[in-house]
């Protein structure tokens, strides 16, 4: 059919676009006009700020939680060595120890693989919240080998300390944390935190992810006070160590000996951080509320700017439900994309923080901290609820004729 307009230049249904060359015709990509992606991609000036706010909110919340979580996670990591044995000390009365060991060997609910008589002296390691107490175990050399193997040691760089000498073996995380190398001094007379009457040199580094340090028991017996031995009892099957720990704690409850069990470290850590997490929950809830309110306002403004669009579409025959579904799909897309990008950004930042700040000092940071990521779930849900509620309320009173008559533009 002939064009009815004198301005028509072509009858071809495929129109060459600027940039087409040598008569090669191409069709510009046509998106489904009312698909959520079309609006979002064609209105990046609105989509990007909305998405960015969600990304930042998610990153903020998950980042804070991950950093806070790194403290109890560090405690569990640093003292994880305690999972492999139950430690028992006669609390100042060395005569009690043989009886205690006999009692455990006789009455233990599970088979015991080894009892190690040891000494222990205090030391310090570093954490993101300052210095933490640690112990230098004094062991016989054959016990050192057993202990290192039990802690998952793959190999030793250097060698085991010579019996009686001022020498130490530390695990790789301890070496990283304290900046130690073979030949470094780990204990010395002028170090109040890591004291020894003579300098103790590092002669071996155990390749494992567990934290421990040990020196010869003969050296400790000769140089430290009080002269009291302790005991470490190992279950034959590592998986049953926890059962032995619980039994021993119950067995010696209210008695003189002091028992060190890993599950108590975990319990104490949980209790220690319970109040902090309660405060944190309130802060995160307040933060989520503020972000939700802000996002709700932002979305409300953006939806207000689309009144003409909604009015026109309703006037030509789109139902309120169809329009609501479309807004819902757009909101879900923005919020979901923002949430996923926020999680991805958090993961990236945590990896960066771990590599640059934490790992060189062997500080523990869980980049896959599920709790931190789970904390962000209420944010997209709350924003979605507020956004939809706002639009539903607006649509309920909306009259498309007001728009096409230009009363509501």
């Amino acid at each position: 059919m002939k064009s009815l307009s004198d301005t028509a230049e072509t009858n071809s249904p495929i129109t060459p676009l600027p940039g087409d060359r040598k008569g090669v015709k191409r069709r510009k990509r046509i998106l489904r006009p009312l698909a959520p992606s079309t609006y979002l991609l064609r209105n990046l000036g609105k989509t990007i700020p909305l998405t960015a706010v969600i990304v930042l909110a998610v990153t903020l919340v998950s980042g804070i939680i991950a950093m806070i979580d790194s403290i109890p996670y560090s405690i569990r990591t640093v003292y994880k060595y305690a999972r492999e044995d139950i430690g028992i000390t006669p609390r100042g009365d060395p005569s009690l120890l043989p009886g205690l060991v006999k009692d455990i060997e006789k009455n233990s609910p599970i088979p015991i693989s080894r009892v190690i008589i040891c000494r222990a002296t205090s030391s310090m390691v570093r954490s993101i919240v300052g210095k933490w107490p640690f112990i230098m175990l004094g062991l016989k050399q054959e016990d050192m080998r057993f202990y290192a193997a039990r802690q998952g040691t793959q190999s030793i760089s250097g060698r085991y300390p010579t019996p009686g000498k001022a020498e130490a073996l530390v695990s790789r995380p301890v070496a990283k944390n304290l900046g130690l190398k073979l030949g470094s001094t780990i204990l010395k007379p002028d170090d109040i935190d890591n004291y020894s009457p003579v300098p103790v040199k590092v002669v071996g580094i155990a390749e494992t992810d567990r934290w421990f340090m040990m020196d010869p028991i003969e050296y400790q017996r000769e140089n430290y006070f009080p002269p009291i031995d302790d005991a470490m009892i190992f279950a034959r099957d590592s998986a049953e160590q926890d059962k032995l720990d619980h039994w021993a704690v119950k067995r010696f409850k209210g008695q003189r000996p002091l028992v060190f069990a890993y599950f108590e470290i975990e319990k104490n850590t949980r209790e220690m951080f319970a109040t902090l997490y309660m405060i944190l929950n309130v802060v995160i809830a307040a933060l989520a509320l503020v972000i939700t309110f802000m996002m709700g306002m932002l979305m409300n403004i953006y939806q207000s700017q689309r009144l003409v669009e909604f009015g026109l579409l309703q006037a030509i025959g789109y139902t309120k439900k169809q329009l609501l579904r479309r807004v819902l799909a757009e909101s879900v897309t923005v919020i979901f994309v923002g949430w996923v990008l926020g999680l991805a950004l958090t993961y990236g930042l945590l990896r960066l923080a771990s590599a640059v700040l934490m790992e060189p000092k062997a500080y523990a940071l869980d980049v896959f901290d599920r709790q931190a990521y789970a904390y962000t779930i209420p944010i997209p849900l709350a924003i979605l609820v507020v956004a939809i509620a706002t639009v539903v309320l607006r649509f309920r009173r909306f009259d498309p004729v007001g728009v096409v008559e230009r009363r509501l533009v």
């Binding site: 059919m1 028509a8 071809s12 129109t15 046509i30 030509i316 309120k320 004729v401 096409v404």
Partner: protein, 215 residues
């Protein structure tokens, strides 16, 4: 096809009942070009909204193929509008983030065949601007895109509410001619205050103060 039976549209204004249309009796017949002529404020747009189901009468009835439109739900009336009717409004309302072609496709959500839409735009003289966005088009071109959107899907009735209001006389007349010539077997109901726009109308009714002028 469409029949208004004593249809009135009234609203409250400071406790007083004001009639936009009053006791209107009118038929829209198959394949006719019905012109509704009246000065500004005479109620002609309100009558158009009543006939198209965009508004429901406060008294009387609007029947479409014998069915009372006010008995239909909002959703049913919406479905009727999108499947049976086409609309051209005073202002050339287009979605700014869509191209001319995509704006045309909006009126037929179940038919996204671009070739026929391109053909329609071509027949309206916009074949070379199908991928332009509304801000790249002149007022007359935008209104022609609106005409294409209204014609798309071959609606049974096209309602045009002062489609020439935002255009100069020449462009306005061109738009009316395009609407009339491309409507096929569909009816065209057009309201205007300008009698010269209704030269091609089969029938013209006059409206004054919300009442049909039968003189």
């Amino acid at each position: 096809m469409i029949r208004a039976c004593s249809a009135s549209l009234a609203y409250e204004d400071q406790g007083r009942q004001v009639f936009a249309c009053r006791d209107i009796d009118i038929d829209v017949r198959e394949n006719e070009f019905l012109g509704i002529l009246g000065p500004s404020g005479s109620g002609k747009s309100s009558l158009l909204y009543l006939l198209s189901g965009l508004k429901t009468p406060t008294s009387g009835q609007i029947q479409y193929d014998g069915a009372d439109l006010s008995k239909l739900s909002d959703d049913e009336r919406s479905r009727l509008r999108i499947t049976e009717f086409g609309f051209v409004f005073q202002q050339p309302y287009l979605l700014g983030y869509l191209t001319a072609l995509e704006n045309v496709l909006v009126s037929t959500p179940k038919d996204q065949d671009t070739d026929s839409a391109l053909d329609l735009l071509d027949r309206l003289g916009l074949g070379h601007k199908t991928h332009r966005h509304p801000h790249e088009l002149s007022g007359g071109e935008r209104q022609r895109v609106c005409v294409a959107r209204a014609l798309r899907g071959s609606p049974r009735v096209i309602f045009a509410d002062e489609p020439t209001a935002a255009l100069d006389h020449k462009n306005g007349l061109g738009v009316v001619q395009l609407l009339n010539r491309l409507r096929g077997s569909g009816s065209l109901v057009m309201v205007t205050h300008d009698p010269s726009m209704l030269d091609e109308a089969d029938r013209v009714v006059k409206l004054a103060d919300g009442v049909l002028d039968l003189s």
